[in-house]
Amino acid sequence: MSEYTINILQREMNQTSVKNTTHIDLLGLSPEILLKWYDEMLLIRRFEEKCAQLYGMGKIGGFCHLYNGQEAIATGSIGAITPDDYVITAYRDHGLAISKGLDPRRILAELLGKSTGTTKGKGGSMHLFSREKNFLGGHAIVGGHIPLAAGAAFASKYLDEKRVCLCFMGDGATNIGEFHEALNLASLWKLPVIYIIENNKYGMGTAVDRASAVDALHLKAAAYNMRNQVIEEGHNVLKVYQSVNAAVAHARRTYEPSLLEVQTFRYRGHSMSDPIHGHYRTKEEVEAQKKLDPLTMFAEILTDANLASESYFDSAEERVKIIVDECVAFTENSPEPPLEELYTDIYAE
C-alpha cells in the first residue's frame, strides 16, 4: 500500500484498541501485517465499488475492469515481495496498483482523466504505471505484457539485482502466442519471473473450457519445463501468499520462473459494460461464489485467531470510507490535463 494509505490506516487504527494481544503465528506473519491485509482488501473492494458508481454516473469513460472478488490475489501476492520487485499486469489493474503502493487518490484521478492521475490522465483505467513503485503497468492488449515481464526479469538478472517480477494475467491470456513465447524464453534462459494466472473462469464471456484445450491452466507450464502450481482457494489470502512466497524464494535462489494458477471469481462483469450474470453466468453461480468472499473468509480467520472482532471490521469500514471519500474529493478538485500535454512524452530527451 502507498505511504498515504498506510498513514491513514495507522492514524485511524491507533484510535481503535486491538481486542486481543495474544500473539498467534499465521505463516510467521505478525498481527500487524495481517490486519493491514484485511484493511487493504477492504480498501480495494470499496474503491472498486466507488469506481462502479462513478462509471454509472458517466464520470469514468471507456473501459473499466473491476477486481471485486479477487482481492486476496493482489494482497497475498504482493505481500510476498518487496518494494524493489516488479509487478506487471493486464487491464484489471486497480487492485494490484493499490497493493503495490500507488496512491489511490491518484489512481482515481487517472480513471477520471485528470492531470493529477498516475499517468497524467493520458493512460486511463487500463494504463496505471509507476516507475517509483516498480509497477510496470496496466496493459490493454491481451498477452502483450507477458514478454515485457520476462524482459524486466532479464534485466534484473543481467544487472545482478536479485529482483523478481510478478506477472498477472487472466485465463484467456494463456491461449495467445506471446504467452507461449515468453514462457519458453523465461524457462530457457532462467528468468526470475513468476507468472500468476488469475483464473476467474471466464475470458470475458467465454468459459475456460470453451477457450483452452487444457482445463488445468497451470499445466501449460509443463510444455516449457517450468515449475508450476495451482492454488484452489484463491479467495484465501494466506494460501495465495504461501504459494507466491515459495515461488518467489525459488526464483531468487535459482533464477527459475514459475507458473501459478489461482482459482478465483469476479463478482462483477468482465467490464462495466458486461452484466454480472444472466449472460454467460447464472445468478446462482454468482451467489454461490459470494459465499467465498475473500473479505468474509479472512475476517473469519482473524476472528478465529482472536486477532480481531466485529468492532474491528466496522472500524475498518470507517477508515476505508475516509480514504475513498478523500479520493473522490481529490479527484473532483483536480483539473483536466492542459492541451499542451498532447505533445509531451512522445519522445524522450
Binding site: 465499488e49 458508481q53 462509471y55 454509472g56 454516473m57 458517466g58 469513460g61 471507456g62 473501459f63 462495466m272 459494460s273 458486461d274 452484466p275 454480472i276 444472466g278 449472460h279 492541451l339
Partner: protein, 406 residues
C-alpha cells in the same frame, strides 16, 4: 442523509435505460450493496446495487419507465427523514449522454481538390504552374497573353522567363561600362531633334504647375473585367482613361484649351494624344473626337495607331491637332511623375501604375488598388482650382466608371 438513486451508465454507449423490476418496495429497508433494481441497457439487463443504506422512500420511475443517464429514479433516506426538499426539485430532464466538446474543431475542412487552385491573377482558366503564376504576378506579365508549352498548354517557367525584363535582374557582378573609352557621340535623329526643340520651348515659355490625385481603381478594375467578358478585344486601362478624360474635358473646357496671347481658345471636341514610346523617342498619335467614341472604338483605334506609330507609318494628321495628352508610365512600375505640357495644349495628364495598398476608409484599414495621376497645366490659362476641379471630376468618373455608359 437522503440521497437520490440515479440512472447509471451501464455501458459506454448507453444513453437511457428502462426500469425492468424494482426488487424493493417503497418503505422497505435497504442495505448498502443489496441489489435494488434491474435495468435494461442497450447491451444487456443489468442490476444496480444500493450505494447507501436506509429506506427506499420513493420510487420516481416505475417499472417499464425510461430515464436518461443521471436522471433520478428513486430516493433513499432515513425512515422519518424529511425528503420534501428533494421531491420538490424540478423533475430533471433526462440528461444527454456526456459528450465532451472537443477542444479543437472535429470537422475536417472539406476537400478542396475539386475546386482547383485559386489563381493569383484574374486569369481563371489559364493553366500555369504555381511557379509560373508567381513569376507572372511578380513581373506584371499577363498570363493570358502567353501560350504555354507545357502539357495541355500549361504555362511553365520557360514560357515566362524570356519575358522578364533583363534589366530587372540584379547582377552580382561589378557593372562593366558599356561604353569603352568613357564616351561616344551619336547623331540625333529627326524625332529626337523635334522633341528636344519642343520640350525646351515648352519648359521655357509655359509656366507649369502640377496637381496630383490618387484614384481608387477597384471599381474600374472590375468594370474592365466585365467589359472584357463581353468582347473579344482586350480593353486596356488606357482605353478607359481616354474615354473618361474625354468625358471630363467636355465639362471642363478651360482645361481643353490653349493660350493665344490675348485670348484663350476652348475646344468643344476632345482630340486626345496618347504617348507611345519608341526606341528613338516619343510619339503622340492623336485619337480624334474621343467624346463621341465608345470605349471599344477607342480601343481599336488606339491599338491601330500605336502599331503604326511603332512601325513608323503614322500620317502627319495623325500626330497633330491634339487638345489634350495622356502619358502613361504605369507599365514600368512608376508610381507617379510629372509630364511636360505639349504646346499648344493647355494640359497633359501623367498616369502612374496601379498599386495595391492599405488605405483607411471610414476608420478601417482596407486593401485597395489605387493609381496616381498628375495634371501638368499652363498657368497662363489654368489656375490651381480649375485643375483641381478637373481632376476631382475625373476621379469621380473613374471611380464610378459605369457613368461612362451614360
Amino acid at each position: 442523509m437522503a440521497t437520490k438513486i440515479l440512472m447509471p451508465k451501464l455501458s459506454d454507449t448507453m444513453a437511457e435505460g428502462v426500469i425492468l423490476k424494482w426488487l424493493k418496495k417503497e418503505g422497505e429497508k435497504v442495505k448498502q450493496g443489496e441489489t435494488l433494481v434491474e435495468i435494461e441497457s442497450d447491451k444487456a439487463d443489468m442490476e444496480l446495487e444500493a450505494y447507501d443504506s436506509g429506506v427506499l422512500r420513493k420510487i420516481l420511475v416505475p417499472e417499464g419507465g425510461k430515464a436518461g443517464i443521471g436522471a433520478p429514479i428513486g430516493i433513499i433516506a432515513g425512515v422519518n427523514e424529511d425528503i420534501t426538499g428533494l421531491l420538490n426539485e424540478t423533475m430533471p430532464i433526462p440528461q444527454k449522454p456526456q459528450t465532451k466538446e472537443a477542444a479543437s474543431p472535429t470537422t475536417l475542412p472539406p476537400s478542396l481538390s475539386h475546386l482547383g487552385t485559386p489563381s493569383i491573377a484574374t486569369d481563371d482558366h489559364v493553366k500555369a504552374s504555381p511557379l509560373a503564376k508567381r513569376l507572372a504576378v511578380e513581373n506584371k506579365i499577363e498570363l493570358r497573353s502567353i501560350s504555354g508549352t507545357g502539357p495541355q498548354g500549361r504555362i511553365i517557367k520557360r514560357d515566362i522567363e524570356p519575358l522578364i525584363d533583363g534589366k530587372k535582374t540584379i547582377s552580382a557582378k561589378v557593372p562593366v561600362s558599356i561604353i569603352p573609352g568613357g564616351h561616344r557621340d551619336m547623331e540625333l535623329s529627326l524625332i529626337r531633334k523635334t522633341i528636344a526643340k519642343r520640350m525646351q520651348e515648352s519648359k521655357q515659355t509655359v509656366p507649369h504647375f502640377y496637381v496630383t490625385v490618387e484614384i481608387d481603381m477597384d471599381p474600374v478594375i472590375s468594370f474592365r473585367e466585365q467589359l472584357n467578358s463581353a468582347t473579344d478585344s482586350k480593353i486596356s486601362f488606357t482605353d478607359i482613361l481616354v474615354k473618361a478624360a474625354a468625358s471630363t474635358l467636355m465639362r471642363h473646357p478651360n482645361i481643353n484649351a490653349t493660350y493665344l496671347g490675348n485670348t484663350m481658345r476652348q475646344f468643344g471636341e476632345a482630340h486626345i494624344a496618347v504617348a507611345v514610346a519608341l526606341d528613338e523617342g516619343l510619339v503622340t498619335p492623336v485619337l480624334r473626337n474621343c467624346e463621341q467614341k465608345t470605349i471599344l472604338q477607342i480601343n481599336s483605334e488606339l491599338h491601330d495607331l500605336a502599331e503604326r506609330a511603332r512601325s513608323r507609318r503614322l500620317k502627319p494628321e495623325e500626330y497633330q491637332g491634339a487638345t489634350f495628352t495622356i502619358s502613361n508610365l504605369g507599365m514600368f512600375g512608376v508610381e507617379d511623375f510629372v509630364a511636360i505640357v505639349n504646346p499648344p495644349e493647355g494640359a497633359i495628364l501623367a498616369v502612374g501604375s496601379i498599386i495595391e495598398k492599405p488605405v483607411v476608409k471610414k476608420g478601417q484599414i482596407v486593401i485597395v488598388h489605387t493609381m496616381k495621376v498628375t495634371l501638368s497645366s499652363d498657368h497662363r490659362i489654368i489656375d490651381g482650382a480649375v485643375a483641381a476641379r478637373f481632376l476631382q471630376d475625373l476621379k469621380i468618373l473613374i471611380e464610378k466608371p459605369v457613368a461612362l455608359m451614360l
